[in-house]
Structures are given as C-alpha cells and as structure tokens.
Amino acid sequence: MTTETTSARPAAGPRKGPGRRPPASSATKVGRPGFAWALPAAVFFALFAIVPLIMVAVLSFMSWDGISPPEFVGTDNWSRLMDDPVMLKSIWLTLLLTVLGVVLQTPLSIVLGVWAAGYQRNRAVLSVIYFIPLLLSATAVSVLWRALLDPNFGIPADATWLFGDGNLFGEQATAIGVLAFVSTWQFTPFHTLIYQGAARAVPPVLYQAAEIDGAGRYRQFFHITLPQLRNSMITSMILMIVGGLTTFETVLILTQGGPGTDTTISAYYMYDKAFKGYDFGVGSAIALALVVAATIISLIVVRVSGYDKMRSTMEGVS
C-alpha cells in the first residue's frame, strides 16, 4: 500500500540528482557569496542582538536602580532569584502556558489549515476571515478580550450557565485559561497559514493512489496528510514554543500577573522587577535565563524531531 510505504520509509537519502542545484553552478561564475555579503545583516544582528545580550549579561551581575551608577554585586542577583518562590512559580507558569499553547493551537491549526488548503471559493473567503485576528496587535486583542470578558457587561453576564459569577480574572485556573484562549485565538491563524501552504504542497498523486487503494478520507488524512506535514509541524511548534516563552503583552494587559502572582510568567516577572521595581540587575538575570532556556528548549526540539537532518517527506516526485 502506498500509504504504508510513505510512513514506514526510513530515510530518503539526500538527493543529489544532476540538475538539482542550478544556482550553484551559475554562482561559480560570480564567485561564492563571501563574508562581505553577510556583513550588513551581521552588523545589525551584532548591534541589536549580540551587544544588548552581552550588556544584559553584565548587568545581571550588577545592582542598578536606574539613578545611581551600577555596582558589581557578584552573583547576588542570581542567588536571590534561586531563593525566590515567585521566580520558580513563574517558570512553571511559563512552561504551562507554552505547553497549553502548543496543545491547543497545533490540532486546531492543522485541521483548519488542511481544510483551508482546498481550492473551493467559500474556503478562500472564510480563510480570509479566519486570518483577521493575526492582523491585530497583541495589545489590541488583549484590550478587546478584557472588555469582552467583563463579568457584568461582557459575555460572562449573558452565559452564567458557563461562567458562573464570571470571576475569570480573579482565580488562577480561569485566568490561565483566558490567557491560553486569547493566545490561541490570535495565533492559530498564523499556524493555519503554515499548514495551509504545506498541505497544498502535498503531491496530489499520493491521494490519487490512496483512493485507488480504497483509503477513505480519514485514512488519507492520517496516513498521507499528517506525515507529509511533519516538517511544517516542527517549524510551527518551534515558533509556538519560542513565542510562548516570550509571551508578554497578553499578560501585561489581561492579568498584570494577577491575581497576586498567579499568572506572573517569567517574561512578565522580568518586566515587573526591572521596570516597576527598578531592580535592573535582577531583571537582567531573568532575561538572560529566559534566553538560555528558550535556546536550549528549541535546540532540543530540533534534535529530537530530527528537523536538522531535513529529510524530504515528498514521495513520488523527482
């Protein structure tokens, strides 16, 4: 069966067929792109990413309130963070929200994306509508939902059977639920777009063959579409994870980390320490920890998923 060979295929070796890389042969004429070509990008990257990163790293060993000159305090900021229960809690909350984001958004955007990949006109129209939340800024979206979820005049007031007294922002579980929901509402369209593109790239010949073999729609979805979407899934998940770890505005506007510290995720805690508490040393330490964590997690995902080997999943095309 075609479908089985597709999923069971262990390793399609790297393709090195002749004529696969015409750009390379033409490039030999002009000479290979050297370091100079990358210079503008590299300079900007160094200026706006590497330099601040180093400054943040240095600042994390200093005490600075923004007024008096910074002073070196050794590892004080770090040891204070280690003993800080809110910091520990914020890490768990960050992970929880990230996982919730991936778990909620992935199936939803796969289904929507595959559906939107059809060429029917009504799907095109609906896809455009689904896309709208992505065009709004996270700030606008958060302000909007905070108002929509007002317990006395918003949705909860008209749906007491579902929301009870409507105290969504007053309890941890519901506050987290709202945060996860709002992120899902906003970012699912983006991932839908990724899956739509990927689903359209699946060679139709696979489906034709499956149909001849008598595979139904669901079978086709699970045995052709899903395996073919594998790389897109990893791309989208990495984006979700990095996005989840650095979520900020949603929390700032929707919950301000509350009630108490119940939705204080790490990125918000960084802001809280640095810009509300004027403790830029501790703030920098949290920022640096976040950078390291995000990098490690993403690298793990890349390794585990085998994304770095970049196998083609295409079948039947050459």
Binding site: P52, V56, L149, D165, L299
Partner: protein
C-alpha cells in the same frame, strides 16, 4: 544544512524580543531637554492639563530674561523616562512629580534642591498653599515640591436611585455603611462597585480605613523604617474590618475581573447595578463623559465614613494630594526658577486650572471657585481638603515607586483571601522604604 545554521539564529531572534524590552532601559535619554542652553527646562507629564502649563510658561517668558521651555513626555512613559534621564546631563531643571515616595529616591541621591532658601526669601511659596497638600512633598523635614495642578481626594460616590430604593442614606459612620451593604445585598444589587482588576481602587479602601482606625502616623512610622507599625493592634483592627466587609459580600464575588480603567465599574454604578463606589474626585467628570444622564440626575457623593473609636481624625482625607514641581540641584538659574514657581499661586493659574475642571490647592482658590465648571462639587472638595488636618497620599505614591508592584500584590491578595492578616503584615514589612 542551511536550515540548520538558520535555526539558532531564529531562536536568538526570538529571544531578542525579550531583550528589546531591556534595551529601552539603556535608552539615550534624549528627552528634549538639553544640557545647557541658557534656558530653564521644565519636564511635565503629557496630558490635557498641559495647556495650562503652556500658558503659565508664556506668561513667565513675557517678562523674564531667562526663558522657560516646556518639555512633555506622554503620560504612560513619564516615570520610566524620568528615571533614566534624571542623573544624566539631559536632566531638566524643574520636573513634574507626585511628591512623597516619587521623589524620595532622588532626594537620597542628592539630586534635588531643598526649597527652604526660596521660602525664606519669599514665604508665600509655602503660605499660599493648603498645608495638608504642601506637606506631602516634604522629605526628611525639608520641602522639595511646589503644588502645580489640582487636588484629587477620594470620595464615596453613590447612586441616589439605588440607595433610595433600598431605604439607605449615604453613610456617615462605618456601622451605617455595613448596614447599607446588608440592605443593598437584600435588594439584589452589588453593594459596592470595585475595579479590583486595576488594584489601586482596592488600595483606596486600605488607605482610608487605616487612616481612620490608626491615624496618619501608622504609615509615617512604617515609611520611616519602623516596620513594627504593621503589627500594631490598630493595623490588625483595620485589616479585620476589611476582611469582614469583603466576607459580607460588599463587593460581590467578581470584583477582581472588573476594571475601573475600561469603564466596567463606572457602568456598574451608572446602570443601577451597584450602590457605591469609592473613587478619586475625577470620577465625576468620568461619569459625565460616560453616562451623562446618570451623572446629572443620580450621582451623589459624600466623605468616607467615620470609624467609632478610631485614632484618625474623621476629617482626614486620602487620595492624590496634588502634583508638584521639584527643582534639580544642578540648575544654573535658581533665581529665575524661584520667580517661575511664584506663578503657581497666581490668579491666572488658579482660573486656568478651574476652567479645565481641576481644583488647585492655593489659598486664593476660594475666591474663584464659583467660576468653576461645577461650583457645588468643587466647593465640597475644596472645603474637605482645606479642613483636613491630614491628607494621606495614596499608598503606592507615598512608598517609593519600586515598592508599588509588591504593594499592589499584597493588597489584592489580602482582599481576595490569598493572604491572611499575618501574611499581609509580612508582605508590607518586606516593602523597601527608601
């Protein structure tokens, strides 16, 4: 292969997002004020009141050789911007602030000019202002600020119609308030509207009750570093009263999901769904904007109820006393600055403030109050503030700015039951006081 190299970069880019925030901290501090161009730079919080400030500056520049330049920073960014430029050469000569804790760190860093020399030469710089307001910019016994806008005491607002239907009159004492809460609850309305999502409205209940029960000295002691003040019997009594009020259902159950700033609690009172709301004096104009008919017909107001046996004077008020101009030590034109500050009690200043609905805190405000936008309301407030032996500055402004986040957390957590009395006391004791 290509992708492999690109990924860590992608990740790093994502991580930079987090850092972009930290970047602004190291901003260039180019606030429009330049180091030394022979002019006096005045830095002000940017909002609708700026037109009065501009007018005063124009008046000053007509006669003065040293010119004044007004620089404004949009409100939301003001505090952070000020913090980053104040110790740099770009710092202004005079700047807007909230008095109390908002200038204490600058005084400690020896950046501000004590104004006692100015006042010695011209006692009007102190005498022309209401003492309860002027005193909130006194740090370690020395004055550091001249009031420069309007006062905003916190008042207990009510919906006349709802109160009447429940057979309740505006409460003069705490017991009457508790009784009113019970009756309003029986009528099926939320007794007191509260925008707990913003947290500072919740804090208003704390600052008033603590003042009534323990008097203004408790917070003064705590701010001076004597943290045992929070363990005092008065402190515990005030906390118990809050606990009882919350547990009696005075605020309903979902107050933490309601916000004042998005109009939630405002609409609650205006739509007859709540009886009271404790809010700053700006509430009146907010209701006029949002719910004109209600504001004109059914919006009532009274002072915060008295507490029997409390140590605080029942005439005390709490809220935002005023905003202040403070002077930087490094200013090159102290004489001209002193002349400029004189305008803050001029007739022109008072009239201009009253015209846009602000209530200045100068002694000559009395003469012009009948020309205010709503004279009766302005008169009530003015008398309240003028007669007050003490004006408690909002806690989050009395404390240094860096304490405000933890202070808000403690207030919210005690209110919703996440912290008990001891937990709250510990949290308050942990706040930095300088």
């Amino acid at each position: 292969m290509k992708t492999r190299a690109r990924l860590p970069r992608l990740v790093a880019c994502g991580a930079t997002l987090a850092l972009a925030l930290s970047l602004t901290a190291c901003g260039d501090g180019n606030g429009g004020a330049s180091a030394d161009d022979g002019k006096i730079h005045v830095l002000v919080y940017g909002d609708a009141t700026n037109k009065v400030e501009k007018r005063i500056v124009d008046t000053f520049n007509k006669t003065s050789d040293v010119k004044v330049v007004l620089d404004t920073i949009p409100g939301a960014d003001y505090q952070q911007k000020l913090q980053t430029i104040i110790s740099t050469p770009q710092a202004p000569d005079i700047f807007f602030n909230w008095g109390g804790g908002s200038i204490k760190p600058f005084v400690k860093a020896d950046l501000l000019l004590p104004l006692d020399d100015f006042i010695k030469k011209n006692p009007d710089l102190e005498n022309k202002f209401l003492p309860s307001v002027f005193n909130n910019a006194v740090v370690d016994g020395k004055p550091y600020g001249i009031p420069m806008r309007g006062t905003q005491p916190v008042l207990l607002f009510h919906n006349k119609k709802v109160l009447q239907e429940a057979g309740v009159t505006p409460p003069k004492t705490w017991d009457e308030l508790v009784d009113a809460v019970g009756r309003l609850k029986d009528k099926g309305v939320t007794p007191i509207a509260l925008g707990g999502g913003d947290i500072w409205p919740t804090q208003m209940w704390f600052q008033y009750l603590f003042d009534r029960v323990a008097g203004p000295d408790l917070l003064k002691k705590a701010l001076a570093g004597d943290k045992s003040a929070w363990e005092s019997p008065e402190s515990k009594k005030a906390l118990n009263m809050i606990r009882e009020l919350v547990d009696a259902g005075a605020f309903g159950k979902n107050y933490d999901s309601v916000k004042y700033t998005n109009g939630g609690s405002v609409a609650l009172l205006a739509s007859d769904k709540a009886g009271f709301e404790l809010m700053g004096s700006w509430y009146y104009s907010q209701q006029l904007t949002d719910h004109k008919e209600f504001a004109e017909k059914d919006l009532g107001y009274s002072a915060f109820p008295t507490v029997e046996g409390g140590k605080g004077d029942p005439k005390n008020v709490a809220g935002n006393t005023n905003n202040y101009y403070s002077v930087m030590k490094k200013t090159k034109h102290p004489e001209a600055v002193a002349e400029f500050l004189k305008l803050m009690y001029s007739d022109e200043f008072v009239k201009a403030q009253l015209d846009i609905g602000n209530l200045p805190t100068t002694t000559n405000t009395d003469e012009f109050i009948d020309s205010a936008v709503s004279p009766e309301y302005s008169r009530f407030q003015y008398d309240l503030v003028a007669d007050a032996p003490s004006f408690q500055l909002s806690w989050d402004q009395a404390y240094p700015q860096k304490a405000s986040s933890d202070l808000h957390k403690a207030v919210q957590q005690f209110f919703n039951g996440q912290l008990d009395t001891d937990g709250f006391i510990q949290a308050m004791q942990a706040l930095p006081t300088e």
